[in-house]
């Protein structure tokens, strides 16, 4: 390496009439300091003459080491002198000395039980605040939606169409594939179990009820939560990070009207459609698999499907779609607005939006199940 000469930083110590002579030579730089600093720190306090005549390179790190040594010696009541420093080196030393930070020792208090209790309390309180903010965002969304009925000029139709495409159309392939495979799995597993009772034909009911009532819409909502909640948070969050939201406010544009309404409304319109597509694809997958596996012909599958499956199953499934859409949209927008001014918080809020949205969707689905079971629908 061309900087091999730099490795030659050296210290020689000698005694001269009560003064200790410290002769430094070679390069005194950040690269040699790791080796030299322990030697300098090991010096006991004594009157010291620091000879820099042999030094051919010095940088701020080297100057810092010398300044620090002198500071330490003077604090211990010893004298120190510099000699033989080139003018530029002396100037550098002076610059470093004037900006030497006076570091005070920090006192770290150990965590007490009180602190832990306080932290727990804060977390519970913040969960309450989160719930309140969610309902606040729902309120803002509904209020702005209502406002746009009376002031249709403020409504952003282009943005709505754009988000419908992003949220709805772009998600069709993944949602269809997912639902198709779920139908296949249900038919396959169902036929293996039902064959033991000779009740293969009930696999149609199994597929129809589980897909229409639960799985179609739930799994669609989960995929959309992963795709869209994160996209909302990232888009709104990066605008928040770069003060674009603040700029909107100063320009008299309402961020809720411009950003939340088109996004959440697009989800509200698209999620039922995606759920319907998922239902169709799930039934298709189940039908094909039961034809291959059990020899239930498509005609027979359709007949049983139409005869034995009450319309209520589809209704129960589709009723949940707008609720899931609202949850996903509000969680995504809320998390976006919570992004701070650094990149890390953007990443953290994006992943937290996905987790929160999926969790909330599943909890809501469970509540729906209990509700419909209670009313016997």
């Amino acid at each position: 390496m061309s900087q091999a000469a730099e490795a030659l930083g050296d210290i020689r110590i000698s005694e001269d009439g009560g003064w200790r002579e410290l002769a430094l030579s070679g390069a005194l730089t950040v690269r040699t300091l790791g080796r030299l600093q322990p030697e300098l720190e090991a010096l006991s306090p004594a009157d010291t003459r620091i000879d820099l005549a042999g030094v051919d390179r010095i940088d701020t790190a080297g100057a810092w080491a010398i300044a620090k040594l002198q500071q330490r010696l003077s604090e211990a009541g010893s004298r120190s002198e510099l000699q033989g420093a080139a003018e530029a080196h002396a100037q550098l030393l002076e610059t470093v000395r004037t900006s030497l930070p006076d570091i005070m020792p920090e006192t770290v208090r150990p965590k007490s039980w009180n602190d832990r209790l306080e932290a727990l309390g804060r977390r519970i309180a913040s969960a309450g605040v989160f719930a309140a903010e969610m309902s606040g965002y729902l309120g803002i969304f509904l209020a702005r939606l209502g406002r746009s009925l009376f002031h249709p000029r403020e409504f952003r139709l282009t943005a709505l169409v754009h988000h419908c495409q992003e949220v709805g159309l772009r998600a069709v392939p993944i949602v269809s594939l997912m639902a198709f495979l779920i139908g296949v799995v249900l038919a396959f597993q169902g036929s293996a179990q039902l064959r033991q009772f000779g009740a293969e034909v009930f696999v149609v009911d199994l597929i129809a009820i589980s897909i229409l009532r639960e799985l179609g819409i739930l799994l669609t909502a989960i995929i959309v939560a992963g795709r869209t909640a994160s996209a909302f948070t990232a888009a709104i969050g990066s605008m928040k990070m770069r003060e674009e939201i603040d700029a909107m406010r100063t320009l008299g544009i309402d961020p809720a009207m411009a950003l939340f309404v088109p996004r959440i409304l697009a989800l509200l319109l698209m999620l039922p459609i995606l759920g319907l597509i998922a239902n169709v694809m799930g039934l298709l997958g189940g039908g094909i698999m039961s034809w291959i596996e059990l020899g239930i012909s498509p005609a027979m599958f359709t007949t049983r499907l139409v005869q034995d499956t009450a319309i209520s199953h589809l209704v129960v499934g589709m009723v949940k779609a707008p609720v899931f859409a609202l949850i996903i949209g509000i969680v995504g927008c809320h998390a976006g607005m919570k992004v701070g001014s650094n990149a890390e918080s953007l990443g953290r809020m994006t992943s937290s939006a996905v987790v929160t949205a999926i969790f909330a969707v599943i909890v809501t689905d469970a509540m729906f199940s209990v509700f419909f079971a209670q009313i016997g629908y």
Binding site: V30, L33, T60, T95, I103, S341, N342, E344
Partner: protein, 259 residues
């Protein structure tokens, strides 16, 4: 000049699509000098800086840094060049998830035998040398003002005592006192460390106070280079306007008063 140029650009062409920013641009930077680069908006000052530090590959031309052909350098050579460079971006470009001290420590981490305490102490020194209160080391970049972020960016650029620092508009957005402190700091470091400074600026006071030589970017190339007094003699309309405008006169008067 008998010295070897530390950076030499020959025939650089930069273009974005069909928009040519630089055409046949030549520039030499001499060791130990403070070179100020000026030019109107859109003349590609920042593009030039990005080209030299290797963030952008020019469409044509050659770049020689420290005697190495930077455009055809091997990966190790490129890393070696980068270690000898320090760059301060316009808004500091600090890592937002690290505190200021950790930001300054990042370049220091490449030196293997530097202990944690030593590294922190050196980072604190750089922070305080760049004119920040050293307590600022514990803050995150988002908690600092724009001017403080610039200083923290400088502290990081200087962490390894590089041979060249590239400063992109270092005094833009600073208050006059802060800006003139910054000028003094740059001038002082350049003298004491033999630091070469490549300075993109619009600040005429900074040009007067710190720059040994000025390069004017216009007409897609480096139109002229020279000292401040030489600049005043150039009769290209833009250069004349720039160095003889009302702001330039005020800067010259200010300079004369301090001298």
């Amino acid at each position: 000049m008998d010295k070897e140029a530390i950076i030499s650009l020959r025939g650089i062409r930069n273009q974005f699509g069909r928009h040519v920013v630089h055409e046949n641009l030549d520039l030499d930077v001499w060791p130990g000098e403070v070179l100020g680069v000026v030019g109107g908006s859109g003349t590609g000052k920042s593009v030039l800086l990005r080209t030299i530090v290797g963030l952008r590959r020019p469409q044509a031309g050659s770049i020689e840094m420290f005697g190495i052909d930077a455009l055809n350098a091997s990966e190790e050579q490129r890393i070696a060049i980068d270690r000898r460079n320090g760059v301060m971006f316009q808004d500091g470009a600090l890592f937002s998830s690290l505190t200021v001290r950790e930001n300054v420590e990042v370049p220091l981490r490449v030196i293997p035998d530097l202990g944690t305490e030593l590294r922190e102490a050196l980072a604190d020194l750089k922070i305080s040398m760049s004119g920040l209160p050293w307590k600022a080391g514990d803050n995150y970049p988002s908690e600092l003002s724009g001017g403080m972020r610039k200083r923290a960016g400088l502290a990081r650029a200087l962490a390894l005592d590089p041979e060249i620092v590239f400063l992109d508009e270092p005094t833009a957005g600073l208050d006059p006192i802060g800006a003139s402190d910054f000028d003094t700091l740059i001038k002082g470091l350049s003298r004491q460390l033999g630091l070469t400074v490549f300075l993109v600026t619009h600040d005429l006071d900074t040009l007067h106070a710190t720059c040994d030589r000025i390069a004017v970017l216009a007409e897609k190339r480096v139109l002229v280079t020279g000292t401040m007094s030489e600049m005043l003699e150039v009769d290209h309309p833009w250069v004349h306007e720039y160095f003889h405008g009302p702001r330039a006169r005020a800067a010259i008067e200010a300079k004369d008063r301090t001298d």
